[in-house]
Symmetry: C2
Subunit: 359 residues, 2 copies
C-alpha cells in the first residue's frame, strides 16, 4: 500500500484485531471489515497500555463547516465504540480559527465559530456522554492550548512549517501558527491529568503531517510516549469521485439533507452493477467496485445483511435499484435517529465543553 510505505505507517492486521477482541470481547465492524480503518502507527503500545490499566485518550478534530456529510460521522461512530469499550476520554478540537484563517475572504470568524457549535451537535448526537467527550473550540478555549502551543512553536521553524504544510511567504502568519494548536491537543491530556496520557488519533492520512511533527518533538517537550494514529480511508463520492466533494453536492449526503434529497442522491449513485437488468441477472454485479455497497459496509452493522448483499449482488439476485432502496432505508433510519438525538443535544452542548470540566 503506497500510503503505508510513504508515511511509515503499518496496516492493521489480524494481530491488532485479535488484541482488540481480547481486550473488549468484540471488534467494531469499521475495523473488522478492513475497509475503513486500515492502517495505524503505534496502535500496539496503546493497546498494551489498555491491557496494563494505564491511561490513554482519544483525540480527533474537525475544521467546522456548514457542509457536514454523513461520511464525516463514520469515524466518530468508531470513536464512540472506543470510548465505550475502552472507557477513555475523547478530546475533540473544533478548529474554527483555522477554517477562518485558510479561507481567502469567505467566512468570518463568527461564522466558523457558529459552524463549530453546529458540528458539535452532530458529534454529541452519536451518543457520547459529557463525562467522556471534551469539546475544544479553538477560538474560545485557547487558554487550554496556548501554553503548550508556545512550547511547540518554539520547536518549529518557519522553514519546517513551510516544508511540512506547503506554506509560502504569502501564507498568513495565523495559518502558519495554527499547526501548533492541532499538535498541542495531542499533549493536552498529559497536562490536564498531570501524568502521561498518550493519545490515539483516528485520522485521515491528510492530517498526518501534524502528527508526525508532534511525534518529532514529543520527546524534547517531555511528552513521551509519542501520539499514536489510526487511519481511515476517504469515503468515496456517490457519483464516483475518490472522495466526497463539496463542489459536487450530489457526491455526498449532508446531515441536513431532506429525505427527498437523500433518496435522489442514492438512486443516482454510481454502482458496480451491469448496464441492464438482464446482464445483472446473468453475470451479477461487482460490489467490490460499488459505492452503494461501500455505504452498506459503513452504515450496516449486521454482518449477515452485508454478506447477503454482497453474495446476492455477485449472484445476480440483487438488482442495483433494490440495493439502493435498502441503502436509502438504512440511511433514512440512521438520519432520523441522528436528527432526533441532534435536537436533544442542543440543550446539553455546554456540558461537553472542556471549560466546564477542567479549570
Amino acid at each position: 500500500m503506497r500510503l503505508a510505505r510513504e508515511f511509515g505507517v503499518q496496516l492493521i492486521t489480524e494481530n491488532e484485531i485479535n488484541t482488540i477482541r481480547e481486550l473488549t470481547g468484540e471488534v467494531h465492524y469499521l475495523i473488522r471489515r478492513g475497509g475503513f480503518f486500515y492502517a495505524h502507527r503505534d496502535l500496539v503500545p496503546i493497546l498494551s497500555r489498555q491491557r496494563s490499566g494505564l491511561k490513554w485518550a482519544l483525540y480527533d478534530g474537525r475544521g467546522p463547516s456548514a457542509d457536514l456529510h454523513i461520511g464525516h460521522l463514520v469515524p466518530w461512530m468508531l470513536s464512540k465504540w472506543f470510548v465505550d469499550k475502552f472507557n477513555v476520554d475523547y478530546f475533540f478540537e473544533l478548529t474554527d480559527d483555522e477554517k477562518f484563517l485558510v479561507k481567502e475572504g469567505g467566512y468570518t470568524l463568527e461564522q466558523t465559530n457558529k459552524y463549530a457549535y453546529e458540528n458539535a451537535l452532530d458529534l454529541i448526537a452519536l451518543g457520547f456522554t459529557p463525562d467522556k467527550l471534551h469539546i475544544i473550540i479553538d477560538s474560545e478555549d485557547i487558554k487550554y492550548l496556548y501554553k503548550i502551543a508556545v512550547r511547540v512553536g518554539k520547536k518549529l521553524t518557519l522553514s519546517t512549517v513551510k516544508h511540512t504544510f506547503g506554506f509560502t511567504d504569502s501564507t498568513n502568519v495565523g495559518a502558519a501558527f495554527f499547526p501548533t494548536l492541532e499538535i498541542s491537543v495531542a499533549f493536552l491530556p498529559t497536562e490536564l491529568y498531570g501524568e502521561q496520557v498518550p493519545v490515539l488519533i483516528p485520522t485521515a492520512i491528510d492530517q498526518d503531517p501534524y502528527f508526525r511533527l508532534a511525534r518529532d518533538i514529543a520527546d524534547e517537550l517531555g511528552y513521551p510516549p509519542k501520539p499514536s494514529t489510526i487511519y481511515s480511508k476517504f469515503i468515496p463520492g456517490l457519483t464516483g469521485e475518490d472522495k466526497m466533494s463539496a463542489s459536487n453536492p450530489d457526491s455526498a449526503i449532508y446531515v441536513t439533507d431532506s429525505e427527498r434529497d437523500v433518496r435522489r442522491k442514492i438512486m443516482n449513485a454510481l454502482t458496480g452493477g451491469q448496464p441492464t437488468v438482464e446482464l445483472q441477472r446473468k453475470y451479477g454485479g461487482d460490489p467490490d467496485n460499488c459505492v452503494v455497497y461501500k455505504y452498506h459496509l459503513l452504515f450496516q452493522d449486521s454482518d449477515e445483511k452485508v454478506r447477503d448483499i454482497y453474495e446476492n449482488c455477485r449472484a445476480g439476485k440483487l438488482l442495483c435499484g433494490e440495493c439502493k432502496i435498502m441503502l436509502f432505508e438504512r440511511i433514512r433510519e440512521f438520519m432520523k435517529e441522528h436528527n432526533e438525538r441532534r435536537e436533544r443535544a442542543k440543550d446539553a452542548i455546554q456540558q461537553y465543553r472542556i471549560s466546564v470540566k477542567f479549570r
Copy 2:
C-alpha cells in the same frame, strides 16, 4: 531628528504641551522637560477625544525579565500621571510568551511567567489602582487576545512579518506569530467596551514596527481610529553607553540593587564634569552631556532643584561628587518607597489581572 524623519513621527511641540496643560491644569515634567518623551504619532486626536469626553485608553507592555532597572519605571510613572489626570484605563501586556520564544535555550515558560508576576509588582508599586490598571499576562490571559489575533494574523503574511521584524525561515513559528498579540492589545479596549476606544501607546521607537502594522490593518479590521503613540528616549547607561545594558550590570540600577550597589554605581557614573576639582571650579561642568544630570531630570520632580543643579554645575559651584550624592539620596528615597509599595502589592496583584475584571 533622524528617528522622526525615518518613522514618520512628529516631535512633541509647545502645541501639544499647551493642550495637555489646558486639559489637566498641568504638564508632567517627563513631557514638559522635553528630554524623555519627545515625539508622537497622532497624539492630537487622543487629546481631542479627551476634550470631547470620548473614551480612549493607555496601552503599554513589557517582555518580563529578572533584570528590571529603575529606568524601566520612568515611562510607567508618566502612565500613572496620565491615568490620574485623564481618568483612563491602562492596559499592560506582560509578554512572557515572547520572552520565552525569542530566547534561544535560556528561560523556560515557567520562568518568564514568574518574571511577569515580579515585574507586575513593580508596576503596581507606582501607585495604580485596580479599577484603572488591567494587567494581561499573555500565557494566562490569551483568551482576551486570541480572537483578535486570529483576525490580525489573517492580514499579515509571513513575508510581512519577516520584513517588518527581520525574521527568517529559521525563526520559530511561535515568535513569528507573536506580533499579532502585541498588535491585538491595541484593539482590545474596543472589543471589551463594545465601542471605539483607541489607545495611546507610550513606547520606545524599537517597538514602533508593531504599532505601524497595527495602524496599517486597523481600518480593514474595523478598528478605527488607529492607535496613537508617544515615544520615549532610551535611558543612557550610567557608564556612558547609549542605552542601559544587561551585559554591563554597572550601567543600570536594578530595582533589586542594594543601597550599597546603588551608591557604588552612581559614584562610578560618567559625568560631564571636569577632570579635576580645580578645573570644575574654574570652567564649570557640562550637564547637557552628563548621565548624572539626566538621572536628576528623570527622578527629580522639583523643577527648582533641577534648575539649581544645572546652573550650579555650569557655574562650577557644584562638584560631581556632591551632585552624585544628591542623586544617590534621591534614588535611595525613591527605591525605599518603591520597595515598600512593591511589598504591599504582593497581596493585591490578583485584583489587577484583566481576568478578574472582564469576563
